[in-house]
Symmetry: C2
Subunit: 97 residues, 2 copies
DNA sequence: TTGATAGGCAAGTCATTGCTTGCCTATCGT
DNA sequence: ACGATAGGCAAGCAATGACTTGCCTATCAA
């Protein structure tokens, strides 16, 4: 639902996670944790990130594939594109001049 | 800030308000209240809507102009367009084929 | 000037949510 | 088999946020 997409985007940490996945797709939970700590100085527990990833996944923004004991997370921008044109009027400012 | 834009979009009532303003720009607080009640069945107090409008305004999504005792609210989609391309990869799905 | 209309301010309530802590399951390497 | 690694589940806490209630200011019409 669009509902979940907006709620998922409301948290800054979740947006950081999306930023990470844009830069490198298919990361595991522990990789994302390490990246957030080293690159952004975020000192969050593993569970916190895990819960954020669950929110992103149930919003459809992140897709996961399991492989052995690893769970890789991939970004999915398709829900974004469907939702973002909602308030762009036809006569509004040009999006692609 | 982009921060405020996402938080502003997180609430369903605020998104309804934006929907209302897309349909008809320059509404007053009372008009928006009436519209939300009649069209969407939302039974919210005037202050609730007023607070939502304040959030939208401080996010830059709504611009206001005062005229006598009336305060007209106009939609401003510019903050949206700056924020929405954040996770769209260059090699990702085509946004404008 | 008086009453009615349009809006603002502030405190208080109640639910949501982000985060932690503690424990448990599953897979891999040796 | 055993320990180590990758992840999951669930209860609890503290902070944020949405909404209400009550009162106050400002503009306009009569």
């Amino acid at each position: 639902m669009a509902e979940d997409v907006f709620k998922a985007l409301a948290d800054p940490t979740r947006r950081r996670i999306l930023d990470e996945l844009v830069e490198r797709d298919g990361q595991t939970l522990f990789e994302i944790c390490a990246r957030l700590v080293t690159k952004h100085g975020l000192g969050l527990s593993r569970q916190a990130i895990s819960q954020h990833l669950a929110v992103l996944e149930s919003a459809g923004l992140v897709v996961t594939r399991r492989q052995g004991r690893y769970k890789f997370h991939d970004l999915n921008t398709e829900p974004l594109e469907r939702v973002m044109t909602r308030w762009l009027r036809p006569d509004g400012p040009e999006s692609t001049p």
